[in-house]
Every structure is written in C-alpha cells, then in structure tokens.
C-alpha cells in the first residue's frame, strides 16, 4: 500500500542521513519499521513488568548446564 507523507526538506535530509538510504521511500520505510518494532517491544515488556504475563523458564544457570553423564 502506498501512503503520502508530508515532510520538510530538512526532515527528509535528516532521515536520509540517519538511515544511510539513498531512496526517500526506502528511508522512510526503514525508519517506520524500526519505530514500530521498538514500540511493540516496549508494549510487550511494559505488560511483563506490570505482571500481566511471564514465562515459566528455569534460571539461565540450569539452561546452560551442559550434559551431566
């Protein structure tokens, strides 16, 4: 799907510089996806911090016990 985004020349220059992309569309796409992933990560971790979910995992020391023969 294509969308139209209004940006100033200065903002677009910054986006191209930060993303190191040459094409405007690819730069904006990269930035949007990175922001989306960070927001999703925060949402899931906020829920975990609030006690809404957790995982029944053993401590890392048990996960990393190499085989006992």
């Amino acid at each position: 799907m294509k969308v139209t985004v209004e940006l100033s020349d200065e903002e677009l220059r910054e986006i191209l510089r930060i993303t190191r992309e040459k094409r405007k569309g690819a730069a904006i796409r990269q930035l949007a996806l990175e922001a989306l992933m960070l927001k999703k990560r925060r949402e899931l971790l906020d829920e975990a911090e609030a006690g809404k979910w957790s995982i029944d995992l053993p401590p890392i020391e048990r996960l990393r016990e190499d085989r006992k023969l």
């Binding site: 990560r41 899931l44 971790l45 911090e49 979910w53 995982i55 029944d56 995992l57 401590p59």
Partner: protein, 134 residues
Amino acid sequence: MISMIDSSIWVDCVRTGSPEPLRRQTKTLIMNPDSVICEPVWFELLRAVPRRDRARTEALLSTVPLLSTPTDLWLTARTLGQKCVDAGALPPAIDLLIAQVCLHHKIQITTFDAHFQQIGKVSALQVNFLTRAR
C-alpha cells in the same frame, strides 16, 4: 554501541518470579535501540519456553534485529572452544556459538554469564559483563 543481548538477560526479564529490580534492569538493556539478537539465542530460549508462551515470546524476540549466522559457525566455534580449553576453561557449548556470532559481526555481548569473560580472555570478544540488580 551495538550489543548482543544474551539469553541470560532475556530469561531474567521475562521469567516468572524474577525480582522487580532485575526486571527493570533487563528491560532497560533490551529496550536499547542498538540491541541485536542471534539464532543461537533464539534457539536457547524457545527450546525451553512452554507451549502457551511460545507465540508471545516469538513476538517479543521478533522486535529485535536478528544478526546473520556465519556459514562457518560450527568450525570457528569449535576452534574458539579449543582455545578456551588450552587456557584451562570449559564454557558451555551454546556460549561458544553465541560468542562466535559476536566475533564474526565485531559486536559486544551484554550478559550476566561469567563464561563470556573466559571466552574474552582468549579472543577479541568484547564483553559487557553485568551483575544482577537486587
């Protein structure tokens, strides 16, 4: 600085019964926009996650950029392990695989696991070794 988040950090962030200060500490590390992950960490975590938590765990891990796995990983990790043995250390096999991915991509690892310090003594691995918040 780009940093691999080790499984030890992930486990303490989402594990049932993890103390509040430890959850906060690990969340901050994982939320760093320069955090990355690798396939051995995916493997180590997801092979131990109960069925009911798998979809959510995968959704969480998917929000972190995944580094490519070097094609010669098994061979180079074996050599790395042999260097450790020659220095008198025997880190777990999975640590060697994770460390070797970091060495390949020239990035540091953030971890609570002291075995990576042993690996750092025999290689160029940059280790951000942390102690757990209490």
